[in-house]
């Protein structure tokens, strides 16, 4: 049986969280069909990617030490098909790609396939800015657009954006040693299409057709509207220097952005400014020509890369409606109040438990017999004879514990 490795390397904001959630929750069922998704936690492949690319990520990298080698070893041990999926792999350098492929058995019997899910730049550009904002960024949308359009691409923002989004370059790096038929592009359908279409394409790319998978999503990466993103950016400006990354993640990204503000779906959506639209479409057209020339396996339609037309009424997130931002802020305050109330209750309960424990401890310390025993043990521990006596006593008492 040929060993196959399906390596899904990006791109962000193409339904990757949903795919990874389905694969993770259906691990057992997939294994029964010879499909191996080696992950002991939901973000196992994210950690492995951080490790491979030696990428610091607000302290999370501490959990990633050795993660790639463990993942690769698991893939090498398994038979049948293995799937690895994380979107930040898109930004791997040529040498990191070389290391990754070698560690997965490329050139040593494994048949490696690279899968790249792609979405039109018209939607990816605002989505990437929003992701930056949800990761503590404070730069305006206008500045973001200016940086990514700079041909030098030497800013951190631009190098990351193009590293994870420029389809021909990603495939130059990941596909340099692979024949084009082993490179699969999954295109994200345009907005308004059948909701299950993207999943059907993923299912086809990963050989999951016909399997009875639980497709109920538990983890998704929801989007925010214009006033909500503007609010998060203002929060970043105000709180970044005082709020450390381990607190930012659960409070701002999860509680405020994902659980609260993403529910406000009636606000204006983030979109590309009409004047940037032609540039984005020119770039997408050049990608399309290149992809057609290279002869990759396309699952979907390259027309999907064109993207929707410019909005008639575009809403600028750098100058949002203050009324809408205030509405979002009230929702955010309410969520924080409820969370604070919950934490206060927990704190009160824990303080009560601690008080009770302290009283019990004090009581036992104050007993004269305890003090006497404590003094005796301390004296005995100072000398060899005493230590022998203590050991004998503990043996007789029948406990291995060293406590008196």
């Amino acid at each position: 049986m040929t060993k196959r490795v399906l390596l899904h390397v990006g791109t962000p904001k193409t339904g990757t969280s949903y795919l990874q959630d389905v694969l993770f929750r259906n691990q057992r069922m997939l294994a029964g069909h010879g499909i191996h998704y080696p992950a002991d936690r939901f973000d196992a492949h994210f950690l492995a990617a951080l490790d491979l690319m030696r990428l610091p990520w607000g302290g999370l990298e501490a959990e990633a030490v050795g993660a790639w080698d463990r993942l690769a070893a698991s893939v090498r041990r398994s038979r049948g098909t293995s799937i690895i999926s994380h979107e930040i792999l898109a930004t791997a350098s040529r040498s990191q790609v070389g290391r990754a492929l070698e560690s997965l058995g490329h050139g040593d019997g494994a048949e490696i396939h690279v899968v790249l899910s792609v979405r039109d730049l018209v939607r990816q550009i605002p989505a990437e800015w929003q992701e930056n904002v949800k990761h503590r960024a404070v730069l305006s949308y206008a500045r973001f657009l200016e940086l990514i359009q700079d041909p030098a691409r030497d800013s951190r923002i631009a190098s990351w954006f193009w590293g994870v989004q420029e389809v021909p370059d990603i495939l130059n790096r990941w596909g340099v040693d692979l024949p084009p038929e082993r490179i699969h592009l999954v295109t994200v359908p345009p907005p308004g299409g059948p909701p299950q279409l993207l999943w059907e394409r993923f299912s086809h790319a990963f050989g999951l057709d016909g399997l009875e998978l639980d497709l109920e999503a538990e983890r998704v990466n929801p989007s925010l509207g214009v006033p909500e993103t503007a609010l998060i950016r203002r929060i970043n400006l105000a709180a970044n220097t005082e709020l450390d990354p381990p607190s930012y993640r659960p409070l701002v990204r999860e509680l405020l952005a994902h659980q609260t503000l993403s529910r406000r779906t009636r606000s204006p959506r983030l979109a590309l400014p009409p004047d940037v639209h032609p540039w984005a479409q020119d770039v997408a057209a050049s990608w399309r020509t290149e992809i057609e020339k290279r002869g990759y396996d396309v699952i979907g339609d390259l027309d999907d890369l064109t993207g929707p037309p410019p909005l008639e009424k575009w809403s600028d997130p750098d100058q949002p409606s203050e009324r809408q931002v205030a509405g979002a802020a009230v929702d955010a305050i309410k969520a924080l109040l409820l969370e604070t109330a919950r934490l206060r209750q927990t704190e009160e309960r824990l303080a009560g438990e601690l008080r009770e424990t302290q009283i019990a401890l004090e009581r036992s310390y104050l007993r004269p017999t305890y003090r006497m025993r404590e003094k005796l043990v301390r004296r005995l521990q100072d000398g060899r004879t005493g230590q022998r006596l203590l050991r004998a006593y503990r043996r007789l008492r029948g406990r291995s514990s060293r406590s008196a």
Binding site: R54, G59, V65, T91, R94, S95, S159, E242, S286, E290
Partner: protein, 372 residues
Amino acid sequence: MGPRDQDTPGHRRAWGWVAHLHEGGATPWRDWTSEGEARGRMLPGAQQLELLRRLNSAGSPTPELIERTLTASAPGRGRSDLELLGAVEPLAFGPPPVDPGDLRDDELLRVAAGLLAEDVVAAGLPPAHPPTFVRPWRTRYRLQGDPELADPIREQLVARGRPPGGRGSTVLVLGDRLDRMVVDAWTASCFDEGAAAWGTWLGSRARRRALPHRIDLAHVARTWAGRVGHDRVRIVLDPAAVPRLVGVRRPFTLPGDVPADGVELARRIAAMLGLLVPRDLRRALLRHTVRPRLAAQPGPRLAVSPEHTEWLQRRAVRMGEGIRRAGYPVLGDPDRLLPAPADHDRVVEPSDAGALALAVRLLLGDDGKEWL
């Protein structure tokens, strides 16, 4: 073969330069003309090649270091392995090719810090001291405040069988000139959990007029007074008083200051170590393996720039008043908290160029020292 791996004159020139660097050459790319045979799957990135050229210019890297440099990747965020300008056809996609001579020091430092972090992990920790007998009748203490004073003294006390804590401990809050303590707080972070670059770190605090909690002595004292009682807190502004307060006779040795560029290099190595070893080991490696070698390097020490003197002066006065009002016993002159003009031999900002030069020296072993 990928689209970039073509047998073109530019490509052959690049491989010729790789061979030249491999043999210890230091000619810049823009002056290089000879061609050579391909020696691998793909050309190393411009950052790696330029770093190797700098290593060759400064000394004689070992064959192992040459190989590691060429196959290293620039870790962390930023531009990934770049193509050489003139080696490849103009690219329609990907980052534009560069002349390696035009690369910023920061980009070379990324690669160098990754290599140094690997060296540090390979060196490991110095041999651990055998466990010391813990003296049962020791003076009970806790040391807080300036991390560059409190942490090394605590470590030495532990080594002498006098660990901190225990019932009835007196809390000693150690301090110094506020501007020095600010430098100390950043330095300690660089040798611990990592920190933002000095300018960003200090700038964000200056905007808020906020001090790191550890060196806000009034805040530290207040916190501990709430836990152990007001009468068990002392402010110590005279380090010479510490031995008596903790019940020892022998004075403590404080580790030497690390040059500004050395701290910056440690900050970058810390970021890379975070990806190679667990958090506790990272801290131990930085303190016990990296720090002694960096402290032995020459170079000016860091100072706070004069533009910050005014707000630090105000904060020092407020801190002193807070301590006085609360009535904690103070050992030493309370005016010692006030910032003073920086000594002439200090710098107000580490430099990437200096940190890179230091990294090159350490990689080559030209400082005459080893990690352990």
